[in-house]
Amino acid sequence: MINKIVSSAEDAVSGIFDGATVMIGGFGEAGSPVELIHALIDQGAKNLTIVSNNAGSGHVGLAALIENRQVKKIICSFPRTAISVVFPELYRKGEIELELVPQGTLAERIRAGGAGIPAFYTPTSVHTSLSEEKEQRDFNGKPAVLEYAIQADFSLVKCLKADKYGNLTYNKTARNFGPVMCMAAKTAIVQARQIVEPGVIDPEHVVTPGIFVHRVVEISNPADESKLVAEKIRYHEIK
């Protein structure tokens, strides 16, 4: 019988291996799966390629994962924030790789990875330095660049409600990359504020159908990452 619920963040991130590609949801702090990221720090997998819109702030969440030297490369659209110190420092030292991708292209490449589209064309980034080495082609006289799907071994996503089948709803703009990242990962790992019985989520209101989700853990009082960052907390101080 199907039951995707696991009992702890530790169990949820088990099996993430050295060298894995891991997508991490969130737009800045909104939707960041802090508890899952911290469990991944404790778990210790190294040489990770991270796909995420940003590169973390302060010394918690993704920034802490990078600070712990578990990340070899990051694929993102906006690694710079007013309060990011960890990524910039390692990047300037040449100790972390960056693949910079326009935000819409990033979202679409992830969706493509989940939808079985190996590649697509887009006008975004034409005539810019970000498309210099990319294949280009005209459609109705309008140039477009070829972009490839991104898939991941694992995704870490935060949601509002989940059931044992993995059906998910999200909260407001914390939805952001969650749905496409669940689609694009071999193993989509989700932390939910609340686990409910099947059927409690109206089938018309399911945002991520359970087929895209593999493990769910209830974290009923997730930390507010923006608050942790503002208070300059470090991940190991949270325990």
Binding site: I2, R111, G116, K164, P198, V206, P209, G210, I211
Partner: protein, 228 residues
């Protein structure tokens, strides 16, 4: 039509022909035995739909229908039929608690993105290399119609075919090479017919089970392709 009526219809068909081997319900039961607990399954229109009736107790299978529902339940009772709740065969169906509705592009993202575990389809022909022809007879007078068949064989992890071994006029549907237009190439993993169950391994057919009273030689005689 509810599942019992559907069974009865096929049983009647069966009693009218004199073939050896399994009837369609037994064939569907054989397929059902091979669907593991927790599988996400898409059943083609017609005979493949029978499979849902034979999933062994204790296994939970989630049915996907490409017109936008994951967690399809049983066929609707006649008083509760909803014309806006149908399956891909346009039958009135139901949804289980824990179902989800979604639009067509999202639905085919499940299929094409490799998220469905098993799809069970009918066939005009299957080749020994696992090629499938099930959408067109190639007859120029027929109206061509493909539906989701090519998406399913291209995207679903495992394709099972359930079909009579021979056509009504006795020619083999298990062939060296398909003569009908292809739905997909090297896509079929396993074939369930009234005479045998065959696996496609490295572009060869291996008989894994024979119907009661049917010999390997008898099946080979009824089969254009070479069996192993």
């Amino acid at each position: 039509m509810n599942r019992n009526l559907l069974r009865k219809k096929y049983d009647t068909m069966k009693s009218n022909d004199k073939n050896l081997g399994w009837n369609v319900n037994e064939m569907a039961q054989k397929v059902a035995m091979d669907i593991p607990d927790g599988a996400y399954v898409n059943l083609g229109i017609g005979i493949p739909e029978l499979v849902a009736g034979y999933i062994p107790e204790g296994r939970e299978v989630i049915y996907h229908t490409e017109n936008g529902l994951l967690g399809m339940g049983k066929v609707a009772e006649s008083q509760t039929e909803d014309p806006e709740l149908v399956n891909a065969g346009k039958k009135y169906v139901t949804a289980i608690p824990g179902a989800a509705y979604f639009h067509h592009a999202d639905s085919f993202a499940m299929i094409r993105g490799g998220h469905i575990d098993i799809c069970v389809l009918g066939a005009y022909q299957v080749s020994e290399e696992g090629d499938l022809a099930n959408w067109s007879t190639g007859n120029p007078d027929d109206i061509p119609a493909v539906g989701g068949a090519m998406d399913l064989v291209a995207g679903v992890k495992t394709i099972y075919v359930i079909t009579k071994h021979c056509t009504k006029i006795g020619s083999s549907k298990i062939v060296k090479q398909c003569t009908y237009p292809l739905t997909g190439k090297n896509v079929v993993s396993r074939i369930y017919t009234d005479l045998a169950i065959m696996d496609v391994i490295d572009k060869k057919l291996y008989v894994s089970e024979l119907a009661p009273g049917v010999s390997f030689e008898y099946v080979q005689q009824k089969t254009e392709a070479r069996l192993n």
